[in-house]
Symmetry: C2
Subunit: 159 residues, 2 copies
């Protein structure tokens, strides 16, 4: 696929960010966010250096862009990633309202490099009792009461 010139520029920046991150102690992933064509975030994977399993490049970039723009709504933004987002990051992309993602490598390339995103994609399609982790429920009535309280609360800000 041939990318438009601005998409190519930002995707190259995401890939370059990933490349440089390898020798800086992080994982080989980078992400860039642009809003109306303007760069608003650039981040690399910081899981190991930050001791933070959520510090994937896309999550870090979304946090940067949201902080800069002062809103959790990034629906005017495009996200560029050196590799296909994992389920955690793709979930974050939906919650941020991002409507377009451009990426280079995919989950199979990531798997070959030792990152098993595909396994997590599969796990998420399973029912809770068929997952590799143990998931249990309890206090359902108490939990549902909180959601009802939210529904009734007049000053809530929906998102």
């Amino acid at each position: 696929m041939t990318l438009k010139s601005i998409d190519r520029e930002y995707l190259e920046l995401a890939i370059d960010t990933a490349f440089r991150n390898i020798t800086e102690g992080g994982g080989p992933f980078g992400a860039v966010i642009a809003c109306h064509g303007r760069l608003v975030a650039r981040a690399a994977n910081m899981v190991v250096p930050s001791h933070d399993p959520t510090a994937h490049a896309e999550i870090e970039a979304i946090r940067q862009a949201s902080a800069l723009l002062g809103t959790h709504d990034l629906s005017d933004c495009v996200l560029y990633a050196s590799c296909e987002p994992c389920p955690m990051c793709l979930g974050a992309i939906y919650w941020a309202g991002i409507r377009r993602v451009v990426y280079a490598s995919d989950r199979h390339g990531a798997a070959a490099a030792g990152f098993d995103d595909e396994k997590i994609y599969r796990e998420l399609t399973h029912d809770k009792d068929d997952r590799s982790i143990m998931m249990e429920r309890g206090l359902i009535e108490q939990g549902d009461n909180v959601l009802r309280k939210w529904e009734e609360y007049p000053d809530k800000v929906r998102y």
Copy 2:
């Protein structure tokens, strides 16, 4: 299902955190993490007050626990959530290595309160061209080169 006494205590704390958060401007969700029975994190949904779409209770709790324990590996931890984790948070749970999750409400209760986690679960099962967001690929060779470079890098820390 009847919970063990320690599970009940921590799940009640997560639910109470969710409940209190409603009048504090956040979403109606709370999470708690325990490590070998000891409380190491407690967080509420901060999406709106923090302008951060990734600031779900579970993500915030994982970040807190990782910072406190000084590692991205939370495999000795149990996560308690007032509501079933969304795909973003469940992805984070897998990356953190958490092996047990206890929760109260589920995605259907969340949907009734206006939080469409179920839609994101469905989207993640679709091929990229069938999603509600636009996903495009390019510069695949350059992206794959970065992953190969990582594979060859002798000082990498796998996670």
